[in-house]
Amino acid sequence: MNVQVEPAKLKAKDFASDQEVRWCPGCGDYAILKAVQMSLANMGAQPDNTVFVSGIGCAARFPYYMETYGFHTIHGRAPAVASGVKIANPELDVWVVSGDGDALSIGGNHLLHLLRRNVDVQFLLFNNEIYGLTKGQYSPTSQAGQKSPSTPQGSVDAPIDACTFALGCNARFIARGIDIQAKQLGDIFTRAQEHKGASFVEIIQNCIVFNDDAFAHFTEKSVAKETQIHVKHGEKLIYGADGNKGIRIKPGAFELEAVTIGEDGVTEDDILVHDETNRVLANLLVAMKPPEMPIALGVIYCDPAPSYERAVQAQVEASMANGAGDMDKLLRSGNTWTVS
């Protein structure tokens, strides 16, 4: 009789490499690293089948700290390298780790195409609204007016919202989390990994050195309940310390508004139910910004479609269906003549 031996279940620490982690003490990246390692253990991921690809930036050091396969590439190009990895071997579980400068500035074009093609990778964008590695210049997600070494009088750039960009690129999976919320991040990573196709995850990350507390107005414990809404598919969009705040469609307008149940005649029936397959709703949710509205966290949009690399593979397999090509025959295809 065969005794099936379950492979020993891996723990979070089994996904940690022997390399010393070298982010600044207190950097939000530490918490994200732990959350990723924990989720991989929980989802039963195989270290030897998992690949982390990154570009350049503080976040891009991530692969070195993972006991998986890892490729630290060049600035902005991680989505392109990851596309090649996934096309060449669709069986690998590919994660891309990037930052706001890497993904939305120098690498914006590649991210656009990774998402619209729907390559089955998990794309984690650590958004700290600053260039950390190059010592604090403003980034494409920095708020207008941000003072930095390159903008002593304040930035005059209009920032881009990462999730809005991803939706515009036709991403089929959009989620947002906060570095310090390990449990919620774990749930998002699990969903992202299960999702077939490109999964886009924005992680709000505090850069303690160059942009400390940029997000404190909604991440601080004292305000979190009133400024965050954790969305769940099929559940009402309710938040607040007392659970009496909600999101509804503003009467007479095509926009959302935050309301209090029991005030001004608002009842629970007025509150919207989250439908993660609704693209229009997703666009409205990702655009919500504190203090007027709570920030939307969790899986905001998920509407799967066939993934790119499988479609590519299917064409190769269909071409192979009648047998592999014969090189000698190929060279002799078309008009040939023989000299004797």
Binding site: N49, G70, I87, A88, E91, M327, T338
Partner: protein
């Protein structure tokens, strides 16, 4: 009968060549509007010529604009073919025969025709408007412009309309068959069979009215030549068959041979290819060809830009496949950062550069060899990698196999240089058999025992290639300097010196794994060596052969392995009194060789977007030896 004028005449007073001194070959140039189907006409005539056992070389010369305004000089498309009863290595210098389907085609080309040569004109297109658009104030047929040539005026447009009248086609469709009428006439002039073209038309258009009209036009052109009243005017020429080496032949273009060579290389390596590229002239045909070869385990990916093409190819190599990318000048410039990453991570990658003329956008459809510096030296920091160049369409096959061999054996990116001329030109090719090639199977490392990502093979200094997915071999690589062996991030200065030296030693060592430099023609030592690389092979070789026949002490050396250079090359060059580099740029191989071999070297340099001519290389040789 032959079209040549007296070979003894030499040059005319204004320097234009009077004769080719070849009675065993003919150069024909077809020219017309870019909508006239000149390239198809040329391709079909080449095919028929090859099937007649003539040797040949072609030169398609088309405008950058897809559909330039009709009748303009910049909308002229041309196709030159040289064929003959001896081995032909170039598409020829000056045409013996020009077929001009409109005034603009005449305007652009007539001055290059041999004095006394034949010009066939479609008079149907010589209306006032077309003459004006071509920039002729007066009809060139009437003001003596063409007095040095023999001209035959035929209203090809009207005759084509006449021939296609019985078929249910529009006037526009009928006029499109003008190229086939012309082909029929030229086929008759050189005794070519119409069969292959008829088969081609039937295959393309089936049994339709268009098909019948096209075939009728083709036959009408042929019959026109045969008719008694005119055959006195139109010369008929029969060239003997070439004594080709026995075997099976086909016509092949550089783009085809290169694509097939890449596939063959991957077969010999035993791995599948992932080809990632972005559309650019004149590189795109490689993407088109490979995208139809998925049954050979080829996956193609049209990336969002040149950078992504290089990066995704590298990502594919990282997984254990043969990642390949291709482009031309400006596209190659964009790929350089990714190539640096390939050098740093020591992964295989083949980058094909089909060179084109000019800096920036330059002249996309014209040819040049000006990316030597870019490929040998054009990266940040000390970043050595092998650079190979193909010399002819057929040679692209061999060179592509060699590129895959070096990339996989030495874990390195490899540049493979072709150019716009080679890519588009066609030549008869003795089809190789795959059993003639020694396989060079790749072995991906699977053994975890003692594994270090940056340990090195004693002989090649290559690091192990591990496919992600292999149990127990998880590791990290990247562009930051790596510690010798472990591959961990290292900022240690001594380690950087060591790793840089190792990367150099690895590439330098390839010099011992490539064929020694040979001399193509002439002696191994002597007065003058003409050195070339890439597509100048044909004109240099023909020029040197002629000069040897005239008794000059000259040799031809042609370099395939540009970096590293063959180990014996420097000594070989020192065995000549003088060395002359002939190339289509401002002196890149010249500067490069001077830096490597520290001896005086001269250059014959040209950048007019056209291939070198045999005459100019002969003149350059004479200038050095007739002192």
């Amino acid at each position: 009968m032959n079209l040549q004028t007296d070979p003894s005449q030499g040059e005319s007073s204004d320097g234009a060549p009077l004769s080719e001194a070849d009675s065993d070959s003919v150069v024909v140039r077809f020219a017309g509007d870019s909508g006239d189907g000149i390239q198809l006409l040329g391709g079909q005539f080449s095919q028929a010529t090859a099937l007649d056992n003539n040797s040949l070389a072609t030169f398609p010369d088309f405008p950058a604009e897809i559909r330039a305004p009709t009748g303009t000089t910049y909308g002229v498309s041309a196709f030159q073919i040289k064929f003959g009863s001896r081995h032909i290595r170039t598409s020829g210098d000056a045409p013996d025969v020009l077929v001009a389907l409109n005034p603009a085609a005449l305007k652009v080309n007539y001055e290059q025709v041999l004095r006394g040569g034949l010009i066939i004109l479609d008079t149907g297109s010589f209306g006032e408007r077309n003459l004006k658009k071509a920039g002729f104030e007066v009809d060139p047929r009437e003001d003596g412009t063409l007095k040095e040539y023999r001209t035959i005026e035929i209203d090809i447009s009207a005759l084509t309309l006449e021939a296609t009248k019985p078929f249910d086609v529009t006037q526009k469709e009928a006029l499109r068959a003008k190229n086939l009428w012309t082909l029929g006439l030229v086929d008759w002039m050189y005794g070519r069979s119409l069969d292959a073209t008829e088969t081609f038309i039937t295959r393309k258009f089936g049994d339709s009215a268009i098909s019948q009209a096209n075939i009728a036009a083709l036959k009408a052109g042929h019959a026109y030549g045969e008719t008694a009243e005119v055959s006195g005017d139109i010369p008929q020429t029969r060239l003997g068959e070439v004594k080709f080496e026995s075997g099976e032949y086909r016509l092949v273009s550089g783009a085809e041979a290169l694509s097939w060579g890449l596939v063959a290389g991957c077969k010999l390596a035993g791995i599948d290819m992932t080809f990632c590229s972005y559309p650019i002239t004149p590189s795109s045909p490689i993407l088109h060809i490979l995208s139809r070869l998925k049954n050979f385990g080829v996956t193609t990916f049209q990336a969002e830009d040149e950078i992504a093409a290089a990066c995704s190819a590298l990502g594919a190599s990282y997984t254990g496949k043969m990642g390949i990318t291709a482009s031309s000048g400006p596209g190659i410039a964009l790929k350089t950062e990714a190539i640096g990453l390939a050098i740093s991570t020591e992964l295989p990658l083949v980058i094909v550069d089909t060179q084109r003329a000019g800096q920036s956008t330059g002249l996309p459809t014209k040819t040049e060899q000006s990316d030597l510096f870019l490929t040998v030296w054009g990266r940040n920091a000390d970043a050595p990698m092998p650079v190979l160049s193909a010399r002819s369409p057929g040679d692209c096959f061999e060179t592509a196999i060699e590129a895959v061999r070096l990339a996989t054996k030495y874990m390195t990116p490899v540049f493979l240089l072709s150019d716009g001329y080679i890519a588009n030109a066609a030549e008869p090719w003795l089809i190789p058999s795959m059993s003639d090639y020694e396989p060079f199977p790749v072995s991906h490392r699977t053994d975890p025992e003692g594994f270090q990502p940056f340990s090195r093979d004693d002989e090649t200094l290559a690091r192990p290639w591990v496919k992600p997915g292999t149990p127990g071999l998880m590791h990290r690589i990247g562009g930051i300097e790596k510690a010798d062996g472990s591959g961990n991030i290292s900022y240690d200065p001594d380690n950087h010196q060591l790793m840089t030296d190792l990367r150099f030693a690895k590439i330098d060592g390839i010099a011992n794994d490539i064929p020694a430099q040979t001399v193509e023609s002439g002696a191994e030592k002597g007065k003058l060596a003409v050195v070339g690389w890439g597509s100048t092979y044909g004109p240099i070789n023909r020029a040197v052969t002629r000069m040897l026949a005239e008794g000059y002490d000259v040799s031809h050396i042609h370099i395939r392995h540009i970096w590293p250079l063959p180990a014996n090359l420097i000594d070989l060059l020192h065995d000549f009194d003088e060395v002359l580099v002939a190339e289509m740029n401002k002196g890149q191989m010249l500067t490069f060789l001077r830096s490597q071999c520290g001896r005086p070297i001269e250059g014959h340099l040209k950048v007019n977007g056209q291939p070198l001519t045999i005459h100019e290389v002969q003149d350059a040789i004479r200038a050095r030896l007739d002192k």
